[in-house]
């Protein structure tokens, strides 16, 4: 099943996918452009991975001082960053390089503490799509990636759906594509994750308890490019849907 959180007719509702429509608990069917989409999960802790695809690592090689990577490069985000499907993301007026990052997002469904790899997927509620924008102009070499780059209001798009884990038997063979104004810009497959979903859950739960509602953004493959106000950015992951976002200027 695919689950959404939406605002419609003055209230927040949970909804499920019903063909190309949304269906509310009372049976009301709504077209997807007749509702306001919220992030499909009320977030707990949001964990994001840097450089978790080999090709993206190569793409960033000239700014990495790492020679070898011995553990996942994980960082945290606040709930202020999230915005739903069909939402808008601001590009700061002084930015020269703002780029999307299409990522498989894992939503935790059960408390996980020191979970072994073999049990890890049993702790997943489902999957969604994230588009985790970065403003590269603000990158500083102190506690990277710094929050000014990666934790801006509304710069992490999440949704449209939370897709039940039972409907995604293998999260490691999903193609992933980003289109800007209809043009294919980024392409990858979750089979190329350096640290796959069980590895990330084992690693993280080894030192911090994961709880229902926690979200792990698993990183992005190569193909990031600059976006400007007016651009329509669509991130697709096979079986999870299409996540749509509009870039707007600072004053919008």
């Amino acid at each position: 099943m695919k689950h959404a959180r939406i605002a419609w007719a003055g209230a927040v509702h949970s909804a499920v996918a019903d063909g190309d429509h949304l269906r509310l608990a009372d049976g009301t069917r709504l077209a997807e452009d007749h509702v306001v989409w919220l992030p499909p999960v009320v977030p707990g802790t949001i964990i994001a991975l840097g450089i978790n695809y080999a090709d993206h690592k190569k793409e960033l090689a000239n700014e990495l001082t790492l020679s070898a990577k011995d553990e996942p490069l994980a960082f945290l985000k606040g709930p202020n960053a999230l915005v739903g499907h069909r939402g808008r993301t601001r590009r700061p007026a002084d930015a020269t390089f703002m780029h999307y990052e299409c990522e498989l997002a894992v939503v935790i469904g059960r408390h996980a503490k020191r979970v072994k790899r073999s049990d890890a997927l049993a702790h997943v509620a489902g999957y969604t799509i994230a588009n985790d924008y970065a403003i590269r102009d603000y990158l500083e070499n102190w506690y990277r990636p710094n929050l000014r780059v990666k934790n801006r209001d509304g710069a992490t798009v999440l949704g449209p759906w939370l897709v039940d884990a039972t409907d995604v038997p293998d999260p490691h063979g999903l193609s992933l594509r980003t289109f800007v104004n209809g043009e294919l810009k980024q392409q990858g497959n979750t089979r190329d994750l350096i640290d796959d979903v069980p590895a990330l859950i084992e690693y993280l739960s080894g030192f911090m308890t994961l709880s229902p509602g926690d979200i792990i953004l698993t990183g992005t493959p190569e193909g990031v490019s600059n976006v400007v106000p007016g651009d329509a950015v669509v991130c697709e992951i096979e079986g999870l849907g299409r996540l749509v976002n509009a870039i707007v200027s600072e004053g919008s």
Binding site: T65, G78, P79, N80, E140, N141
Partner: protein, 248 residues
């Protein structure tokens, strides 16, 4: 969140808004952490902390001193109350104690001006931001700062009007009763109002969020078996213990 005269404390399992002198409050016992939202920390804010890095700030991997506030997030399972026993992981001989002022946001703060910023503060608390000591500020592992229990705070949130000048508070750390650190919040590069203004310029702080001002110079270390006491008057004193990690 409710803050009335006096302060807001969470005795285990219940929230109590107290309006009597804090001297009449229980000094011991188990407290839940005060009810805060997202916990944001600030590094290198104290001038002497940054100065201690010397010329390294110009060398790789940093290449330049920080321009914006250096921020990080402590996840929700870090939060621990007054009186907590925090596990020291087997990989660490001791933990670094980042004793500091905690600013609790009272109303949504987005693009706030410095001159208005203090009006967005509900109150103040005491934070013991624990870390596994690590030499680099470049891209440290979450393992060092995000472990369960690594942010004891409290005992309560003292309403802001009881703290007329948050930029002139003395922070005193005692470990097993012996003084281990003493500094003033006057030494911060960014005081409370400026920090709120700069942070809220790109990320909205929600009501209840915790923004930590930053630790003082030469942060002390404590080992399993030791008791940490952080005093910031007029807020009070936060006490917690460190214990060895229970075997998995």
């Amino acid at each position: 969140m409710l803050v009335i005269e006096g302060a807001l404390a969470c005795l285990t399992g219940r929230v109590a808004a107290e309006d009597r002198p804090r001297s009449a409050w229980p000094a011991t016992g188990a407290f839940a952490p005060p009810p805060v939202g997202t916990a944001y920390g600030t590094l290198l804010n104290h001038r002497d902390v940054l100065a201690a890095l010397g010329d390294a700030v110009h060398q790789p991997p940093y290449k330049a001193p920080p321009k914006a506030p250096v921020l990080y997030i402590k996840p929700r399972h870090c939060l621990a109350g007054h009186g907590a026993a925090v596990e020291v992981p087997a990989e660490a001989d001791a933990l670094e104690v980042g004793a500091q002022l905690g600013i609790v946001i009272g109303r949504e703060a987005c693009r706030v001006r410095k001159t208005d910023a203090l009006a967005f503060v509900a109150g103040y608390t005491i934070c013991s931001d624990l870390s596994v000591p690590h030499p680099s500020y470049y891209r440290p592992s979450l393992r060092f700062k995000a472990r369960d229990g690594f942010l004891p705070l409290g005992p309560w949130i003292l309403a802001a009007h009881h703290v007329p000048d948050p930029d002139a508070l003395e922070v005193v750390v005692q470990i097993d009763g012996r003084e281990a650190q003493r500094y003033s919040t006057a030494g911060m590069q960014r005081g409370v109002a400026r920090l709120i203004a700069e942070v809220s310029s790109f990320m909205t702080l929600a009501r209840g969020d915790l923004l930590m001002l930053g630790a003082g110079p030469a942060a002390p270390r404590a080992r399993a078996g030791q008791t940490v006491r952080i005093t910031i008057e007029p807020i009070g004193a936060l006490v917690h213990r460190l214990v060895a990690q229970a075997s998995a």
